[in-house]
């Protein structure tokens, strides 16, 4: 900490530092296994329990149910998001982009940071959605696979394109047409997440790490390699490394990846499968190298210059957190206007400068450069053309595949 010289740090780094002190979306909570399990096991346990003799089917196949839209009368929108996933001013009391939205449109945003874990959040709102009730939320943020599930289950509403001119025009090409929501009929990206290979220079001690193969095979790294518990990220990265396409693969391809990973696990190469908690291990050097999330690396680098990352030649995985309007939301139009607002370059740049994840808005760079040059030049925040070309997404899974793949992956991780 003796290097802590606030004056020399960019605003983005300061923001990252500030955030790393708190228990934020980016710091610890995101996908945090523990929070997930403590809260989630209870919610899901209770959920499974309370449905008693038989759990009702999830819902209709496609579509979504709208309620009467009270947007015109009630100038509010209830927005649920992950902690520390939006810009906050220095006093910590105001969120500049939301304030500007209110000034522009007269719509007040009730902003709640009540999503800590996808599984847990799904457990929380699933009973209401399954029963066709209002969740009290107009806008929620879910990682792509959960967004896909919500759409599949018919839990979210189709967006009205006429309210989303900026979103339609400015969405980055790489996010335009995921196979689970072609043409973005139901969802828009809040932020993108790059999955990369990260390492600690000091702990590597000269060993070169350039690919997932290096992580899995180099005997010098035995017991000091970390992989993510997030199945799509770990499997996707390995799949790319094996020359297969995570956007279209077969059961056999999946099994081949699991077999390859299993070999590394059996050899004792893998120290742990982790959630966000790999950050402290990597920073300390207990993990010499690991599969990691870009946003975390931007923050870690602000604290520890030994942390570095590499984009493997075979490519990297990109996932997204997505804005969705749940069924029966009372202020659908207001929610759509909020989505559209964040697809204007100025607010998008302000957001990107603060949260350090991948901005989904094309051509945000000149605006971000004005706020924070370092952030604008960081490919983890604004992937350049060369990097974006290597970006891959995991294909959506059928419910059957989801269960089978998760079970196989769970076995790999030891349970």
């Amino acid at each position: 900490m003796e290097q802590y010289e606030p004056d020399r740090l960019s605003p983005a780094h300061l923001a990252a530092l500030r955030r790393s002190f708190r228990n934020g979306r980016a710091a610890m909570t995101r996908r945090s296994v523990l929070r997930a399990s403590a809260g989630g096991a209870l919610t899901l346990g209770g959920l499974g329990a309370l449905s008693g003799c038989g759990i009702p089917a999830a819902g209709k196949s496609q579509g979504g149910v709208s309620a009467d839209d009270h947007s015109a009368k009630e100038k509010v929108v209830n927005f649920s998001n992950w902690p520390e996933y939006i810009d906050v001013d220095d006093s910590g009391k105001h969120r500049p982009t939301l304030d500007a939205f209110r000034k522009q449109t007269g719509i007040a945003v009730t902003y709640t940071e009540d999503i800590n874990d996808n599984d847990e959040f799904f457990g929380k709102i699933q009973p209401q959605l399954a029963a066709g009730q209002d969740t009290g939320r107009d806008l929620i943020v879910c990682t792509d696979w959960l967004a896909a599930r919500m759409i599949r289950l018919g839990y979210v509403q189709k967006l009205d394109a006429s309210n989303l001119p900026h979103a339609f025009a400015n969405l980055s090409d790489q996010f335009r047409s995921p196979d689970w929501d072609p043409g973005r009929a139901y969802s828009y990206v809040w932020q993108g997440i790059s999955t990369v290979v990260a390492y600690n220079k000091k702990a590597l001690d000269g060993v070169e790490v350039k690919s997932v193969s290096d992580l899995l095979d180099n005997p010098k790294l035995k017991g000091r390699v970390g992989l993510l518990t997030e199945m799509r990220d770990t499997v996707g990265m390995t799949m790319l490394d094996m020359g297969k396409d995570p956007a279209k693969f077969t059961d056999d391809d999946y099994d081949a990846v699991i077999a390859r990973l299993q070999k590394a696990v059996d050899r004792g190469q893998i120290r742990r499968f982790t959630g966000n908690d790999y950050t402290s291990d990597l920073s300390k050097g207990d993990l010499a190298a690991c599969v990691a999330w870009g946003g975390d690396i931007v923050q870690l680098q602000a604290d520890n210059p030994d942390v570095a990352y590499v984009i493997p030649d075979s490519g990297y995985m990109t996932s997204t957190d997505n804005l969705l309007i749940p069924n029966k939301a009372r202020h659908k139009t207001n929610a759509e206007r909020l989505i559209d607002y964040y697809y204007q370059p100025e607010p998008a740049a302000e957001l990107a400068a603060y949260v350090n994840y991948v901005s989904p808005v094309a051509d945000v760079k000149p605006y971000l450069t004005k706020i924070d040059k370092t952030a604008a030049d960081n490919p983890l925040i604004l992937p350049d053309k060369a990097m974006a070309a290597k970006s891959h997404a995991f294909r959506s899974l059928s419910p059957k595949e989801e269960t089978a793949y998760q079970a196989k992956f769970a076995k790999l991780t030891g349970a």
Partner: protein, 309 residues
């Protein structure tokens, strides 16, 4: 109570006036029981019934789950995950033994030798509870860090060569090995061992020790024949309070362990949250419960302390 309330039939017309309070008196115990019973029904009995029902259902999130009495789930869960069950029992057992070995002298010291330091030491035993369970476990990651002083010292003393050979650790590290998990369990559950031990040791009348001495018992004999048998209730409740939660724990294995140290709690968590296989998770929970119940019953029978606990 029964004999008191069995009042003789009223002899005079004035008697009924005194009757209502008696009637209320007879019901009072039940009224007093009501809050506790309600609590038990809502937070124990109902969840248990629902979990039991979940464990015999089949289906999927999309199609919904229906009770089909598919008992094979239990067999499948057991055959698939017996290594994790076995591991849970082993780790929890090792942690319990370690807790007893560490906790007994400590409790003995507090009860008989601490004098005016007694309260202070008691507070020190309880103090860790003032911080979160998670933080305490995470602290062990720093203590046992690969390049840290503890691991460095153990390496210099070649202790890790021995533990490595025994399969408790891997190479020159402690984190992400069985040893780290057992250490974490031991640390986290130690107070649950010390407190009951202390209570039962503290109750022992000091004059019994004097009497044993007067009868020419050596200190070791006094301990073996007098102190230890009298502290058995503490030993039994301490081991139970340590073993039962340790067997179901998953936090230590998650944070301090690796893929080959996952315990049954980790499996249940994964099945519920990631795989979304609710029936298997519910079945695993019931198997764990049954297994623990069986072991505990056997243990209490063997230690012959049913009337003491």
């Amino acid at each position: 109570m029964a004999t008191l309330t069995e009042a003789p039939p009223p002899l005079s017309p004035t008697a009924p006036a005194t009757k209502p309070p008696r009637k209320r008196g007879r019901l009072t115990p039940y009224w007093l029981l009501l809050p506790g019973l309600l609590w038990l029904v809502v937070f124990f009995a109902l969840p248990m019934i629902y979990q039991a029902s979940t464990s015999v259902q089949t289906g999927s999130l999309e199609q919904g789950y229906k009770v089909t009495w598919h008992l094979a789930t239990y067999w499948d869960a057991l055959t698939e995950y017996w290594p994790q069950f076995l591991r849970s029992v082993l780790y929890a057992g090792a942690a319990t033994v370690l807790c007893l070995v560490l906790g007994y002298p400590l409790a003995y010291l507090i009860a008989f030798r601490a004098g005016r330091w007694r309260n202070l030491i008691m507070i020190l035993v309880i103090a860790p509870f003032f911080t979160s369970f998670l933080i305490r476990t995470l602290a062990w990651k720093t203590i046992l860090a690969d390049g840290g002083p503890v691991v460095g010292a153990l390496n210099t003393l070649h202790v890790l060569d021995v533990t490595s050979w025994l399969g408790w650790t891997a190479g020159d590290r402690v984190l992400a090995t069985p040893l780290a998990v057992v250490c974490g369990l031991t640390y986290n559950f130690l107070p649950f061992m010390v407190l009951p031990l202390y209570t039962s040791l503290e109750r022992i009348d000091g004059r019994l020790h004097e009497a044993a001495g007067d009868l020419y018992a050596k200190p070791s004999t006094t301990f073996r024949r007098v102190t230890f048998p009298l502290s058995m209730p503490g030993v039994v409740s301490g081991t139970l309070l340590t073993f039962i939660p340790a067997a179901g724990d998953y936090v230590n294995a998650e944070l301090l362990g690796s893929t080959d140290t996952r315990m049954i709690g980790n499996v249940i968590q994964t099945q519920f949250l990631r795989v979304l296989d609710y029936p298997t998770a519910a079945a695993l929970s019931f198997i764990l419960m049954a297994a623990i119940l069986l072991m505990v019953t056997f243990y209490i029978r063997r230690s012959g302390t049913e009337d003491l606990v």
